[in-house]
């Protein structure tokens, strides 16, 4: 029997909220799919479009950028900048024909372990039927 496709998701989590949120999910022993590769960044505003494109190039099936809720940013306004920039990246990726589900953004606070697991579950569910991402991949 052929093995089911398991999407590989790269998640850029901001140190102060989303990363702590994923930690909370871990220490609370909540169950969620193991498909996600978390990368801690200092702020969602520090996520360069190059990080995202690079992740896709190296074979990510989906990319998630997650930061603090608006107004909760440790650096006061980093996530507002992120919101603008990520919106542009998302539009651009869709414009060249990448599936919109493959690139997502979320707000996850340090107390929202449950929300984090829900987002990962949803993402895996959405990405599974799409199959492997071959469009931007270096060696498909």
């Amino acid at each position: 029997m052929a093995e089911e496709f398991e999407p590989k998701i790269v998640a850029f989590l901001c140190k102060w909220c989303s990363s702590a949120g994923s930690d909370l999910a871990g220490v609370s022993r909540m169950e969620y799919p193991p498909n996600v590769i978390p990368i801690q960044v200092m702020c969602s505003g520090s996520v360069s479009p190059l990080y995202i494109l690079s992740a896709f190039k190296k074979g990510a099936d989906g990319v998630l950028v997650s930061g603090c809720h608006p107004g909760d940013c440790h650096y006061i306004k980093g996530n507002f900048y992120a919101r603008r920039r990520i919106a542009l990246v998302k539009e651009l990726l869709e414009f060249v024909g990448l599936d919109p589900e493959r690139f997502q953004m979320s707000w996850v606070s340090a107390a929202e372990g449950v929300k984090y697991t829900e987002i990962i579950k949803d993402l895996v569910k959405e990405l599974k039927p799409l199959g492997p991402q071959t469009k931007l991949r270096r060696n498909p």
């Binding site: 479009p49 190059l50 494109l53 690079s54 190039k57 608006p70 306004k77 507002f80 900048y81 919101r83 603008r84 920039r85 919106a87 542009l88 990246v89 998302k90 539009e91 651009l92 990726l93 869709e94 414009f95 060249v96 024909g97 990448l98 599936d99 997502q104 953004m105 979320s106 707000w107 987002i119 949803d122 469009k135 931007l136 991949r137 270096r138």
Partner: protein, 343 residues
């Protein structure tokens, strides 16, 4: 109409009085109707200055080059440079001012109006002339052009020959200038993002097929980057050659430079290169079309930049190059920016 005599007189005047170092403008080329950029230092040479719909180049790039050259000179001549700007070029100047790359007193802007038309698209002209050779293209009244060919003159409606970007241009008149020549009235555009909208209406698969075919052609000559007035960074993320290496740069530092994008021209790397470039030009591209004009493989690079311009307008109500005092697109935000795509 732009009176060439006035333009030449003004140019000679500012050169004679020493107000400007030299003037960057257009002059007759040696190949048919195509003008070439001219650098005029001598007031007697101003007779060579021309202005017609074939003056497609964005001369702002030379201001950027001059700025880089000045940095290396020991005793730089700090007088301003005179430059002839169309509507789009003047917006490029505005973006450079906004980014504080140049100061307003570094340039003396001789604005020229596009006479409610714009510049021509050579391919459309060749198609229209059906094999005849164009020798000269001039502005005529009421949005028409006078095309001189080897077999006589012909009056053609400008709309038939206009470059795509000029059809979508919303300000075919300089927005910043010291002195301006020509008709101030604007040509009306009902759908400024028509080409992008047509593209968006295609299905996701069709769009991918289109870009796959187009970007697979790219040979990574970086002509688009070289011709772009906004691509002025000394270090460019896409190629390691441009990284600043000095005699005392340690080997570790050289080794630690991240290669975000490989040099090899394959589809994946090409897409990443063009998307990165589009992102770097988001809110900065003034749609002068130089990247597309210089591309040896005719990749419609302009589309990507135009898409960013459209999103800047529709999502964030940001228009490029009209107000040098405003913060740039990605270095500012509003509380009401859309976030319906965020979970």
């Amino acid at each position: 109409m732009v009176k060439l005599e006035d333009l030449r007189q003004e140019a000679a005047g500012i050169l004679k009085s020493g107000k400007v170092k030299y003037i960057i403008g257009y002059t007759r080329g040696t190949n048919g109707f195509r003008p070439i950029p001219a650098f005029i230092k001598d007031p007697d040479d101003v007779e060579n200055l021309i202005w017609n719909p074939a003056c497609v180049h964005n001369l702002t790039k030379f201001i950027v080059d001059e700025k880089k050259r000045l940095k290396k000179e020991k005793n730089p001549d700090k007088r301003p440079i005179g430059i002839i700007v169309k509507g789009c070029d003047s917006r490029a100047i505005n973006v450079l001012l906004q980014e504080k790359y140049i100061n307003r007193e570094d340039v003396y802007l001789l604005g020229v109006s596009c006479e409610k038309t714009g510049v021509l698209d050579e391919k459309k002209l060749n198609k229209k002339l059906k094999g005849r050779r164009a020798l000269q293209v001039d502005f005529k009244d009421n949005g028409s052009w006078l095309v001189t060919t080897d077999s006589g003159q012909e009056k053609i409606q400008a709309e038939e020959l206009l470059a795509d970007r000029c059809i979508e241009c919303k300000a075919n008149f300089p927005v910043v200038y010291d002195i301006v020549f020509g008709d101030k009235s604007l040509r009306k555009t009902d759908r400024p993002f028509q080409s992008v909208e047509n593209m968006e209406n295609l299905s996701q698969k069709e769009r991918w097929e289109f870009w796959k075919e187009q970007l697979d052609k790219c040979i990574r000559c970086y002509a688009c980057r070289s011709a772009c007035p906004m691509c002025y960074c000394d270090e460019c993320v896409v190629d390691t050659i441009s990284f600043a290496v000095e005699p005392d740069t340690p080997a570790e530092e050289k080794a630690q430079k991240i290669k975000w994008i490989e040099k090899s021209p394959n589809l994946s790397e090409n897409i990443i290169y063009h998307l990165t470039r589009a992102m770097h030009l988001a809110g900065r591209c003034i749609d002068c079309g130089e990247c597309e004009r210089v591309c040896p493989l005719d990749i419609p690079i302009r589309f990507l930049n135009k898409k960013m311009e459209k999103e800047a307008k529709t999502l964030f109500d940001y228009e490029v190059g009209f107000d040098p005092g405003k913060p740039s697109l990605v270095s500012s935000f509003k509380d009401e920016d859309p976030e319906d795509f965020i979970r």
